[in-house]
């Protein structure tokens, strides 16, 4: 456990906490970006350079911008007067705490059987490209179809309906 791990872990968890706790929705979206950046740093630290840069491109570049656009289009940055948390917030918090307790217990219990430090794998983009075009070509095509369908679906769902016409 190096100091870099604790630094990135603190940054990521702080970003995640701020993303769900802050009152102003725009601030939440910016904190979410910090959490995404922390996760990208984790991926880079785990020698998964391609996944790390894909995380930066897709999440920080696209998803965070999309969230900010949605907030501005829905005027969601105005804080409602009866609080930002729902009526049954306590039940939600209890469920989340229970889930974390179970997951943390499972991880700590199995610490002795988890694999130890191994040599860093060397993964080149050429290898990833060969894998995507060889062994994983069918999932790649399905993801391409899914992305196309999602884009068309999102445009149709959000398209403005003219008054009186169905």
């Amino acid at each position: 456990m190096s100091w870099a791990f604790y630094l990135i872990a603190g940054l990521t968890v702080a970003g995640g906490l701020a993303a769900v706790l802050l009152k102003n929705t725009v601030h939440c979206a910016l904190a979410l970006t910090v959490a995404f950046a922390g996760l990208a740093l984790f991926f880079l630290q785990l020698d998964a350079q391609f996944a790390g840069f894909a995380q930066i491109l897709v999440y920080i570049g696209a998803v965070a911008i999309l969230v900010v656009f949605a907030i501005l289009l829905t005027r969601g940055s105005e804080t409602p007067k009866d609080g930002v948390f729902s009526k049954n917030w306590f039940a939600g918090l209890a469920i989340a705490a229970g889930v974390f307790a179970v997951l943390g217990w499972a991880v700590l219990q199995s610490a002795s059987v988890l694999p130890r430090e191994t040599a860093a794998p060397t993964v080149t983009v050429l290898q990833i490209g060969n894998a995507l075009m060889g062994r994983y070509v069918l999932p790649l095509e399905i993801v391409a179809l899914l992305l196309t369908a999602a884009m068309i679906g999102a445009v149709i769902v959000a398209m403005h309906e003219k008054e009186g016409s169905k």
């Binding site: 456990m1 791990f5 872990a9 990521t12 968890v13 995640g16 993303a19 769900v20 929705t25 996760l39 984790f42 991926f43 785990l46 020698d47 998964a48 996944a51 894909a54 995380q55 897709v58 999440y59 696209a62 999309l66 969230v67 656009f69 949605a70 289009l73 829905t74 930002v84 729902s86 917030w89 039940a91 939600g92 918090l93 989340a96 705490a97 889930v99 974390f100 997951l103 991880v107 700590l108 988890l114 694999p115 130890r116 430090e117 191994t118 794998p121 290898q127 990833i128 894998a131 999932p139 993801v143 899914l146 992305l147 999602a150 884009m151 679906g153 999102a154 445009v155 769902v157 959000a158």
Partner: protein
Amino acid sequence: MTPLSGYLLVAALLFSIGLAGALTRRNAILVLIGIELMLNAANLNLIAFWRYGPHPEALTGMIFAIFSIAVAAAEAAVGLGLVIQIHRHAHTTDLDAINRMKG
């Protein structure tokens, strides 16, 4: 503590934070943010298991995480489109106020 269990603990914490956000916030966009955090925590698990697993040269965990990132991007686009349409229809994104599916 092995390095892998450190990553798994951070991912569990992040997943729980996302779950708490998705369950307790009123704004629909904040619920989507919580879901994104949960998806990202799962990705961190995939990458960590790939890195410390017995066969990292097989690339399975990393390819799975890359596909998961692509699916999450599609999910975010559709989810936010739905939120915008609900806001146009009901003039609110407060999930406590939207309690019927009939138009």
